[in-house]
Symmetry: C2
Subunit: 211 residues, 2 copies
């Protein structure tokens, strides 16, 4: 009697198919310009079906944001060697974040927009679930920072949680700036790498243990 389980799997599969289609459409024409009819056509389903799996267009967007978080987390897992010295780990996380912003720029932009939105985190069970299970990228980062503090490599007067959020938002801002620097015409002729390296240069001494 594995029918219920199979149905469960099929439902999850459908959900993923819809998300695949939505990603294609959203990333191609942008969230605002995309229509639910287009997504339905791409998914080879009727529009009504979409609403059986997602309560709204926004809900679809949020679900893609969750995916983005999962992808980033996986990149961390893959890239950051578990046994390495903690400072190397931190560097690896930074590099992975840069790589994510470059190679998965659609996902990155999704996250930037996601976090600029007011009241979006709530109402997403899956996001809360992700956080509770510590399966989000931020939790990973916090753990490594805590390790750094415990080992006396990082300053200990700022709690890991706060440190993580501060560095995270700072870095997200810079990566977004680097990605959109062509908009700021006065920044056109400095490289992304310059921006990122200078950013690191500025905060580096701010987080290390003195002496």
């Amino acid at each position: 009697m594995g029918i219920i389980e199979r149905k469960e799997r099929e439902k999850e599969q459908r959900r993923n198919d819809i998300l695949d289609a939505a990603e294609k459409v959203f990333f191609k024409v942008g969230f605002e310009n995309a229509t639910m009819d287009e997504v339905a056509e791409m998914a080879e389903l009727s529009k009504g079906t979409l609403y059986l799996y997602f309560s709204s267009k926004e809900d679809l967007y949020y679900a893609i944001s969750i995916r983005a978080l999962q992808v980033l987390r996986q990149l961390f897992e893959k890239t950051v060697p578990a046994g390495a010295p903690v400072l190397d780990k931190i560097i690896a996380i930074g590099k992975a974040f840069v790589q994510f912003a470059r190679e998965k720029s659609d996902y990155f932009k999704t996250l930037v927009y996601f976090s600029s939105l007011p009241d979006c985190h709530e109402a997403i069970d899956r996001y809360e679930k992700l956080c509770e299970e510590k399966a989000d990228p931020m939790s990973f980062f916090i753990q490594v920072l805590q390790q750094g503090i415990d080992e006396g490599k990082l300053r200990s007067d700022i709690p890991a949680l706060q440190l993580a959020h501060i560095l995270w938002t700072q870095t997200t801002g810079i990566l977004n700036l680097a990605a959109t620097k062509n908009i700021h015409f006065d920044l056109k002729d400095c490289s992304e790498d310059d921006l990122i390296n200078n950013h690191i240069e500025i905060i580096k001494n701010g987080i290390l243990k003195k002496g």
Copy 2:
């Protein structure tokens, strides 16, 4: 024959009236939920008239963003003493920014959202004009940083322009985080001030001249 001038003034006045109305509506119910009919009603004009002054709903939003930039710039002018030591000036700018994010939170949010948007800066004559005239807050900041570099108070290996953008995005990110920290439930029990002060603590040594 001051008729043309008067008409010019009246047009600008109308434009401002519409913006006032749009601000009220947008800030009250949010940009997405607001309708052009509501704005028209608030402005005591017909919807058609709005479109004589602004090409779209987005255009209205952008115009409000420009206002936000002007307000912030004026706050800088008012708050930052021209003759003060340059490091004091920088601190004053930081404080003014914090004040802006707190007391003019609607404008602040407008700017955050504005800069997270792809391709929005172009197509706005008034924004480019503001930048060209160095009447935007960023230009003000750059000038002060340049002064700091020239006087040997700040590190000189990072150009003022880049330094400004880096600090700007970092700080915007933190202020936004502080403003929305209630969303990140794990941050609920640390104060905004903590976040901001720790942020400053981290970058402080990174921008000062060594020694």
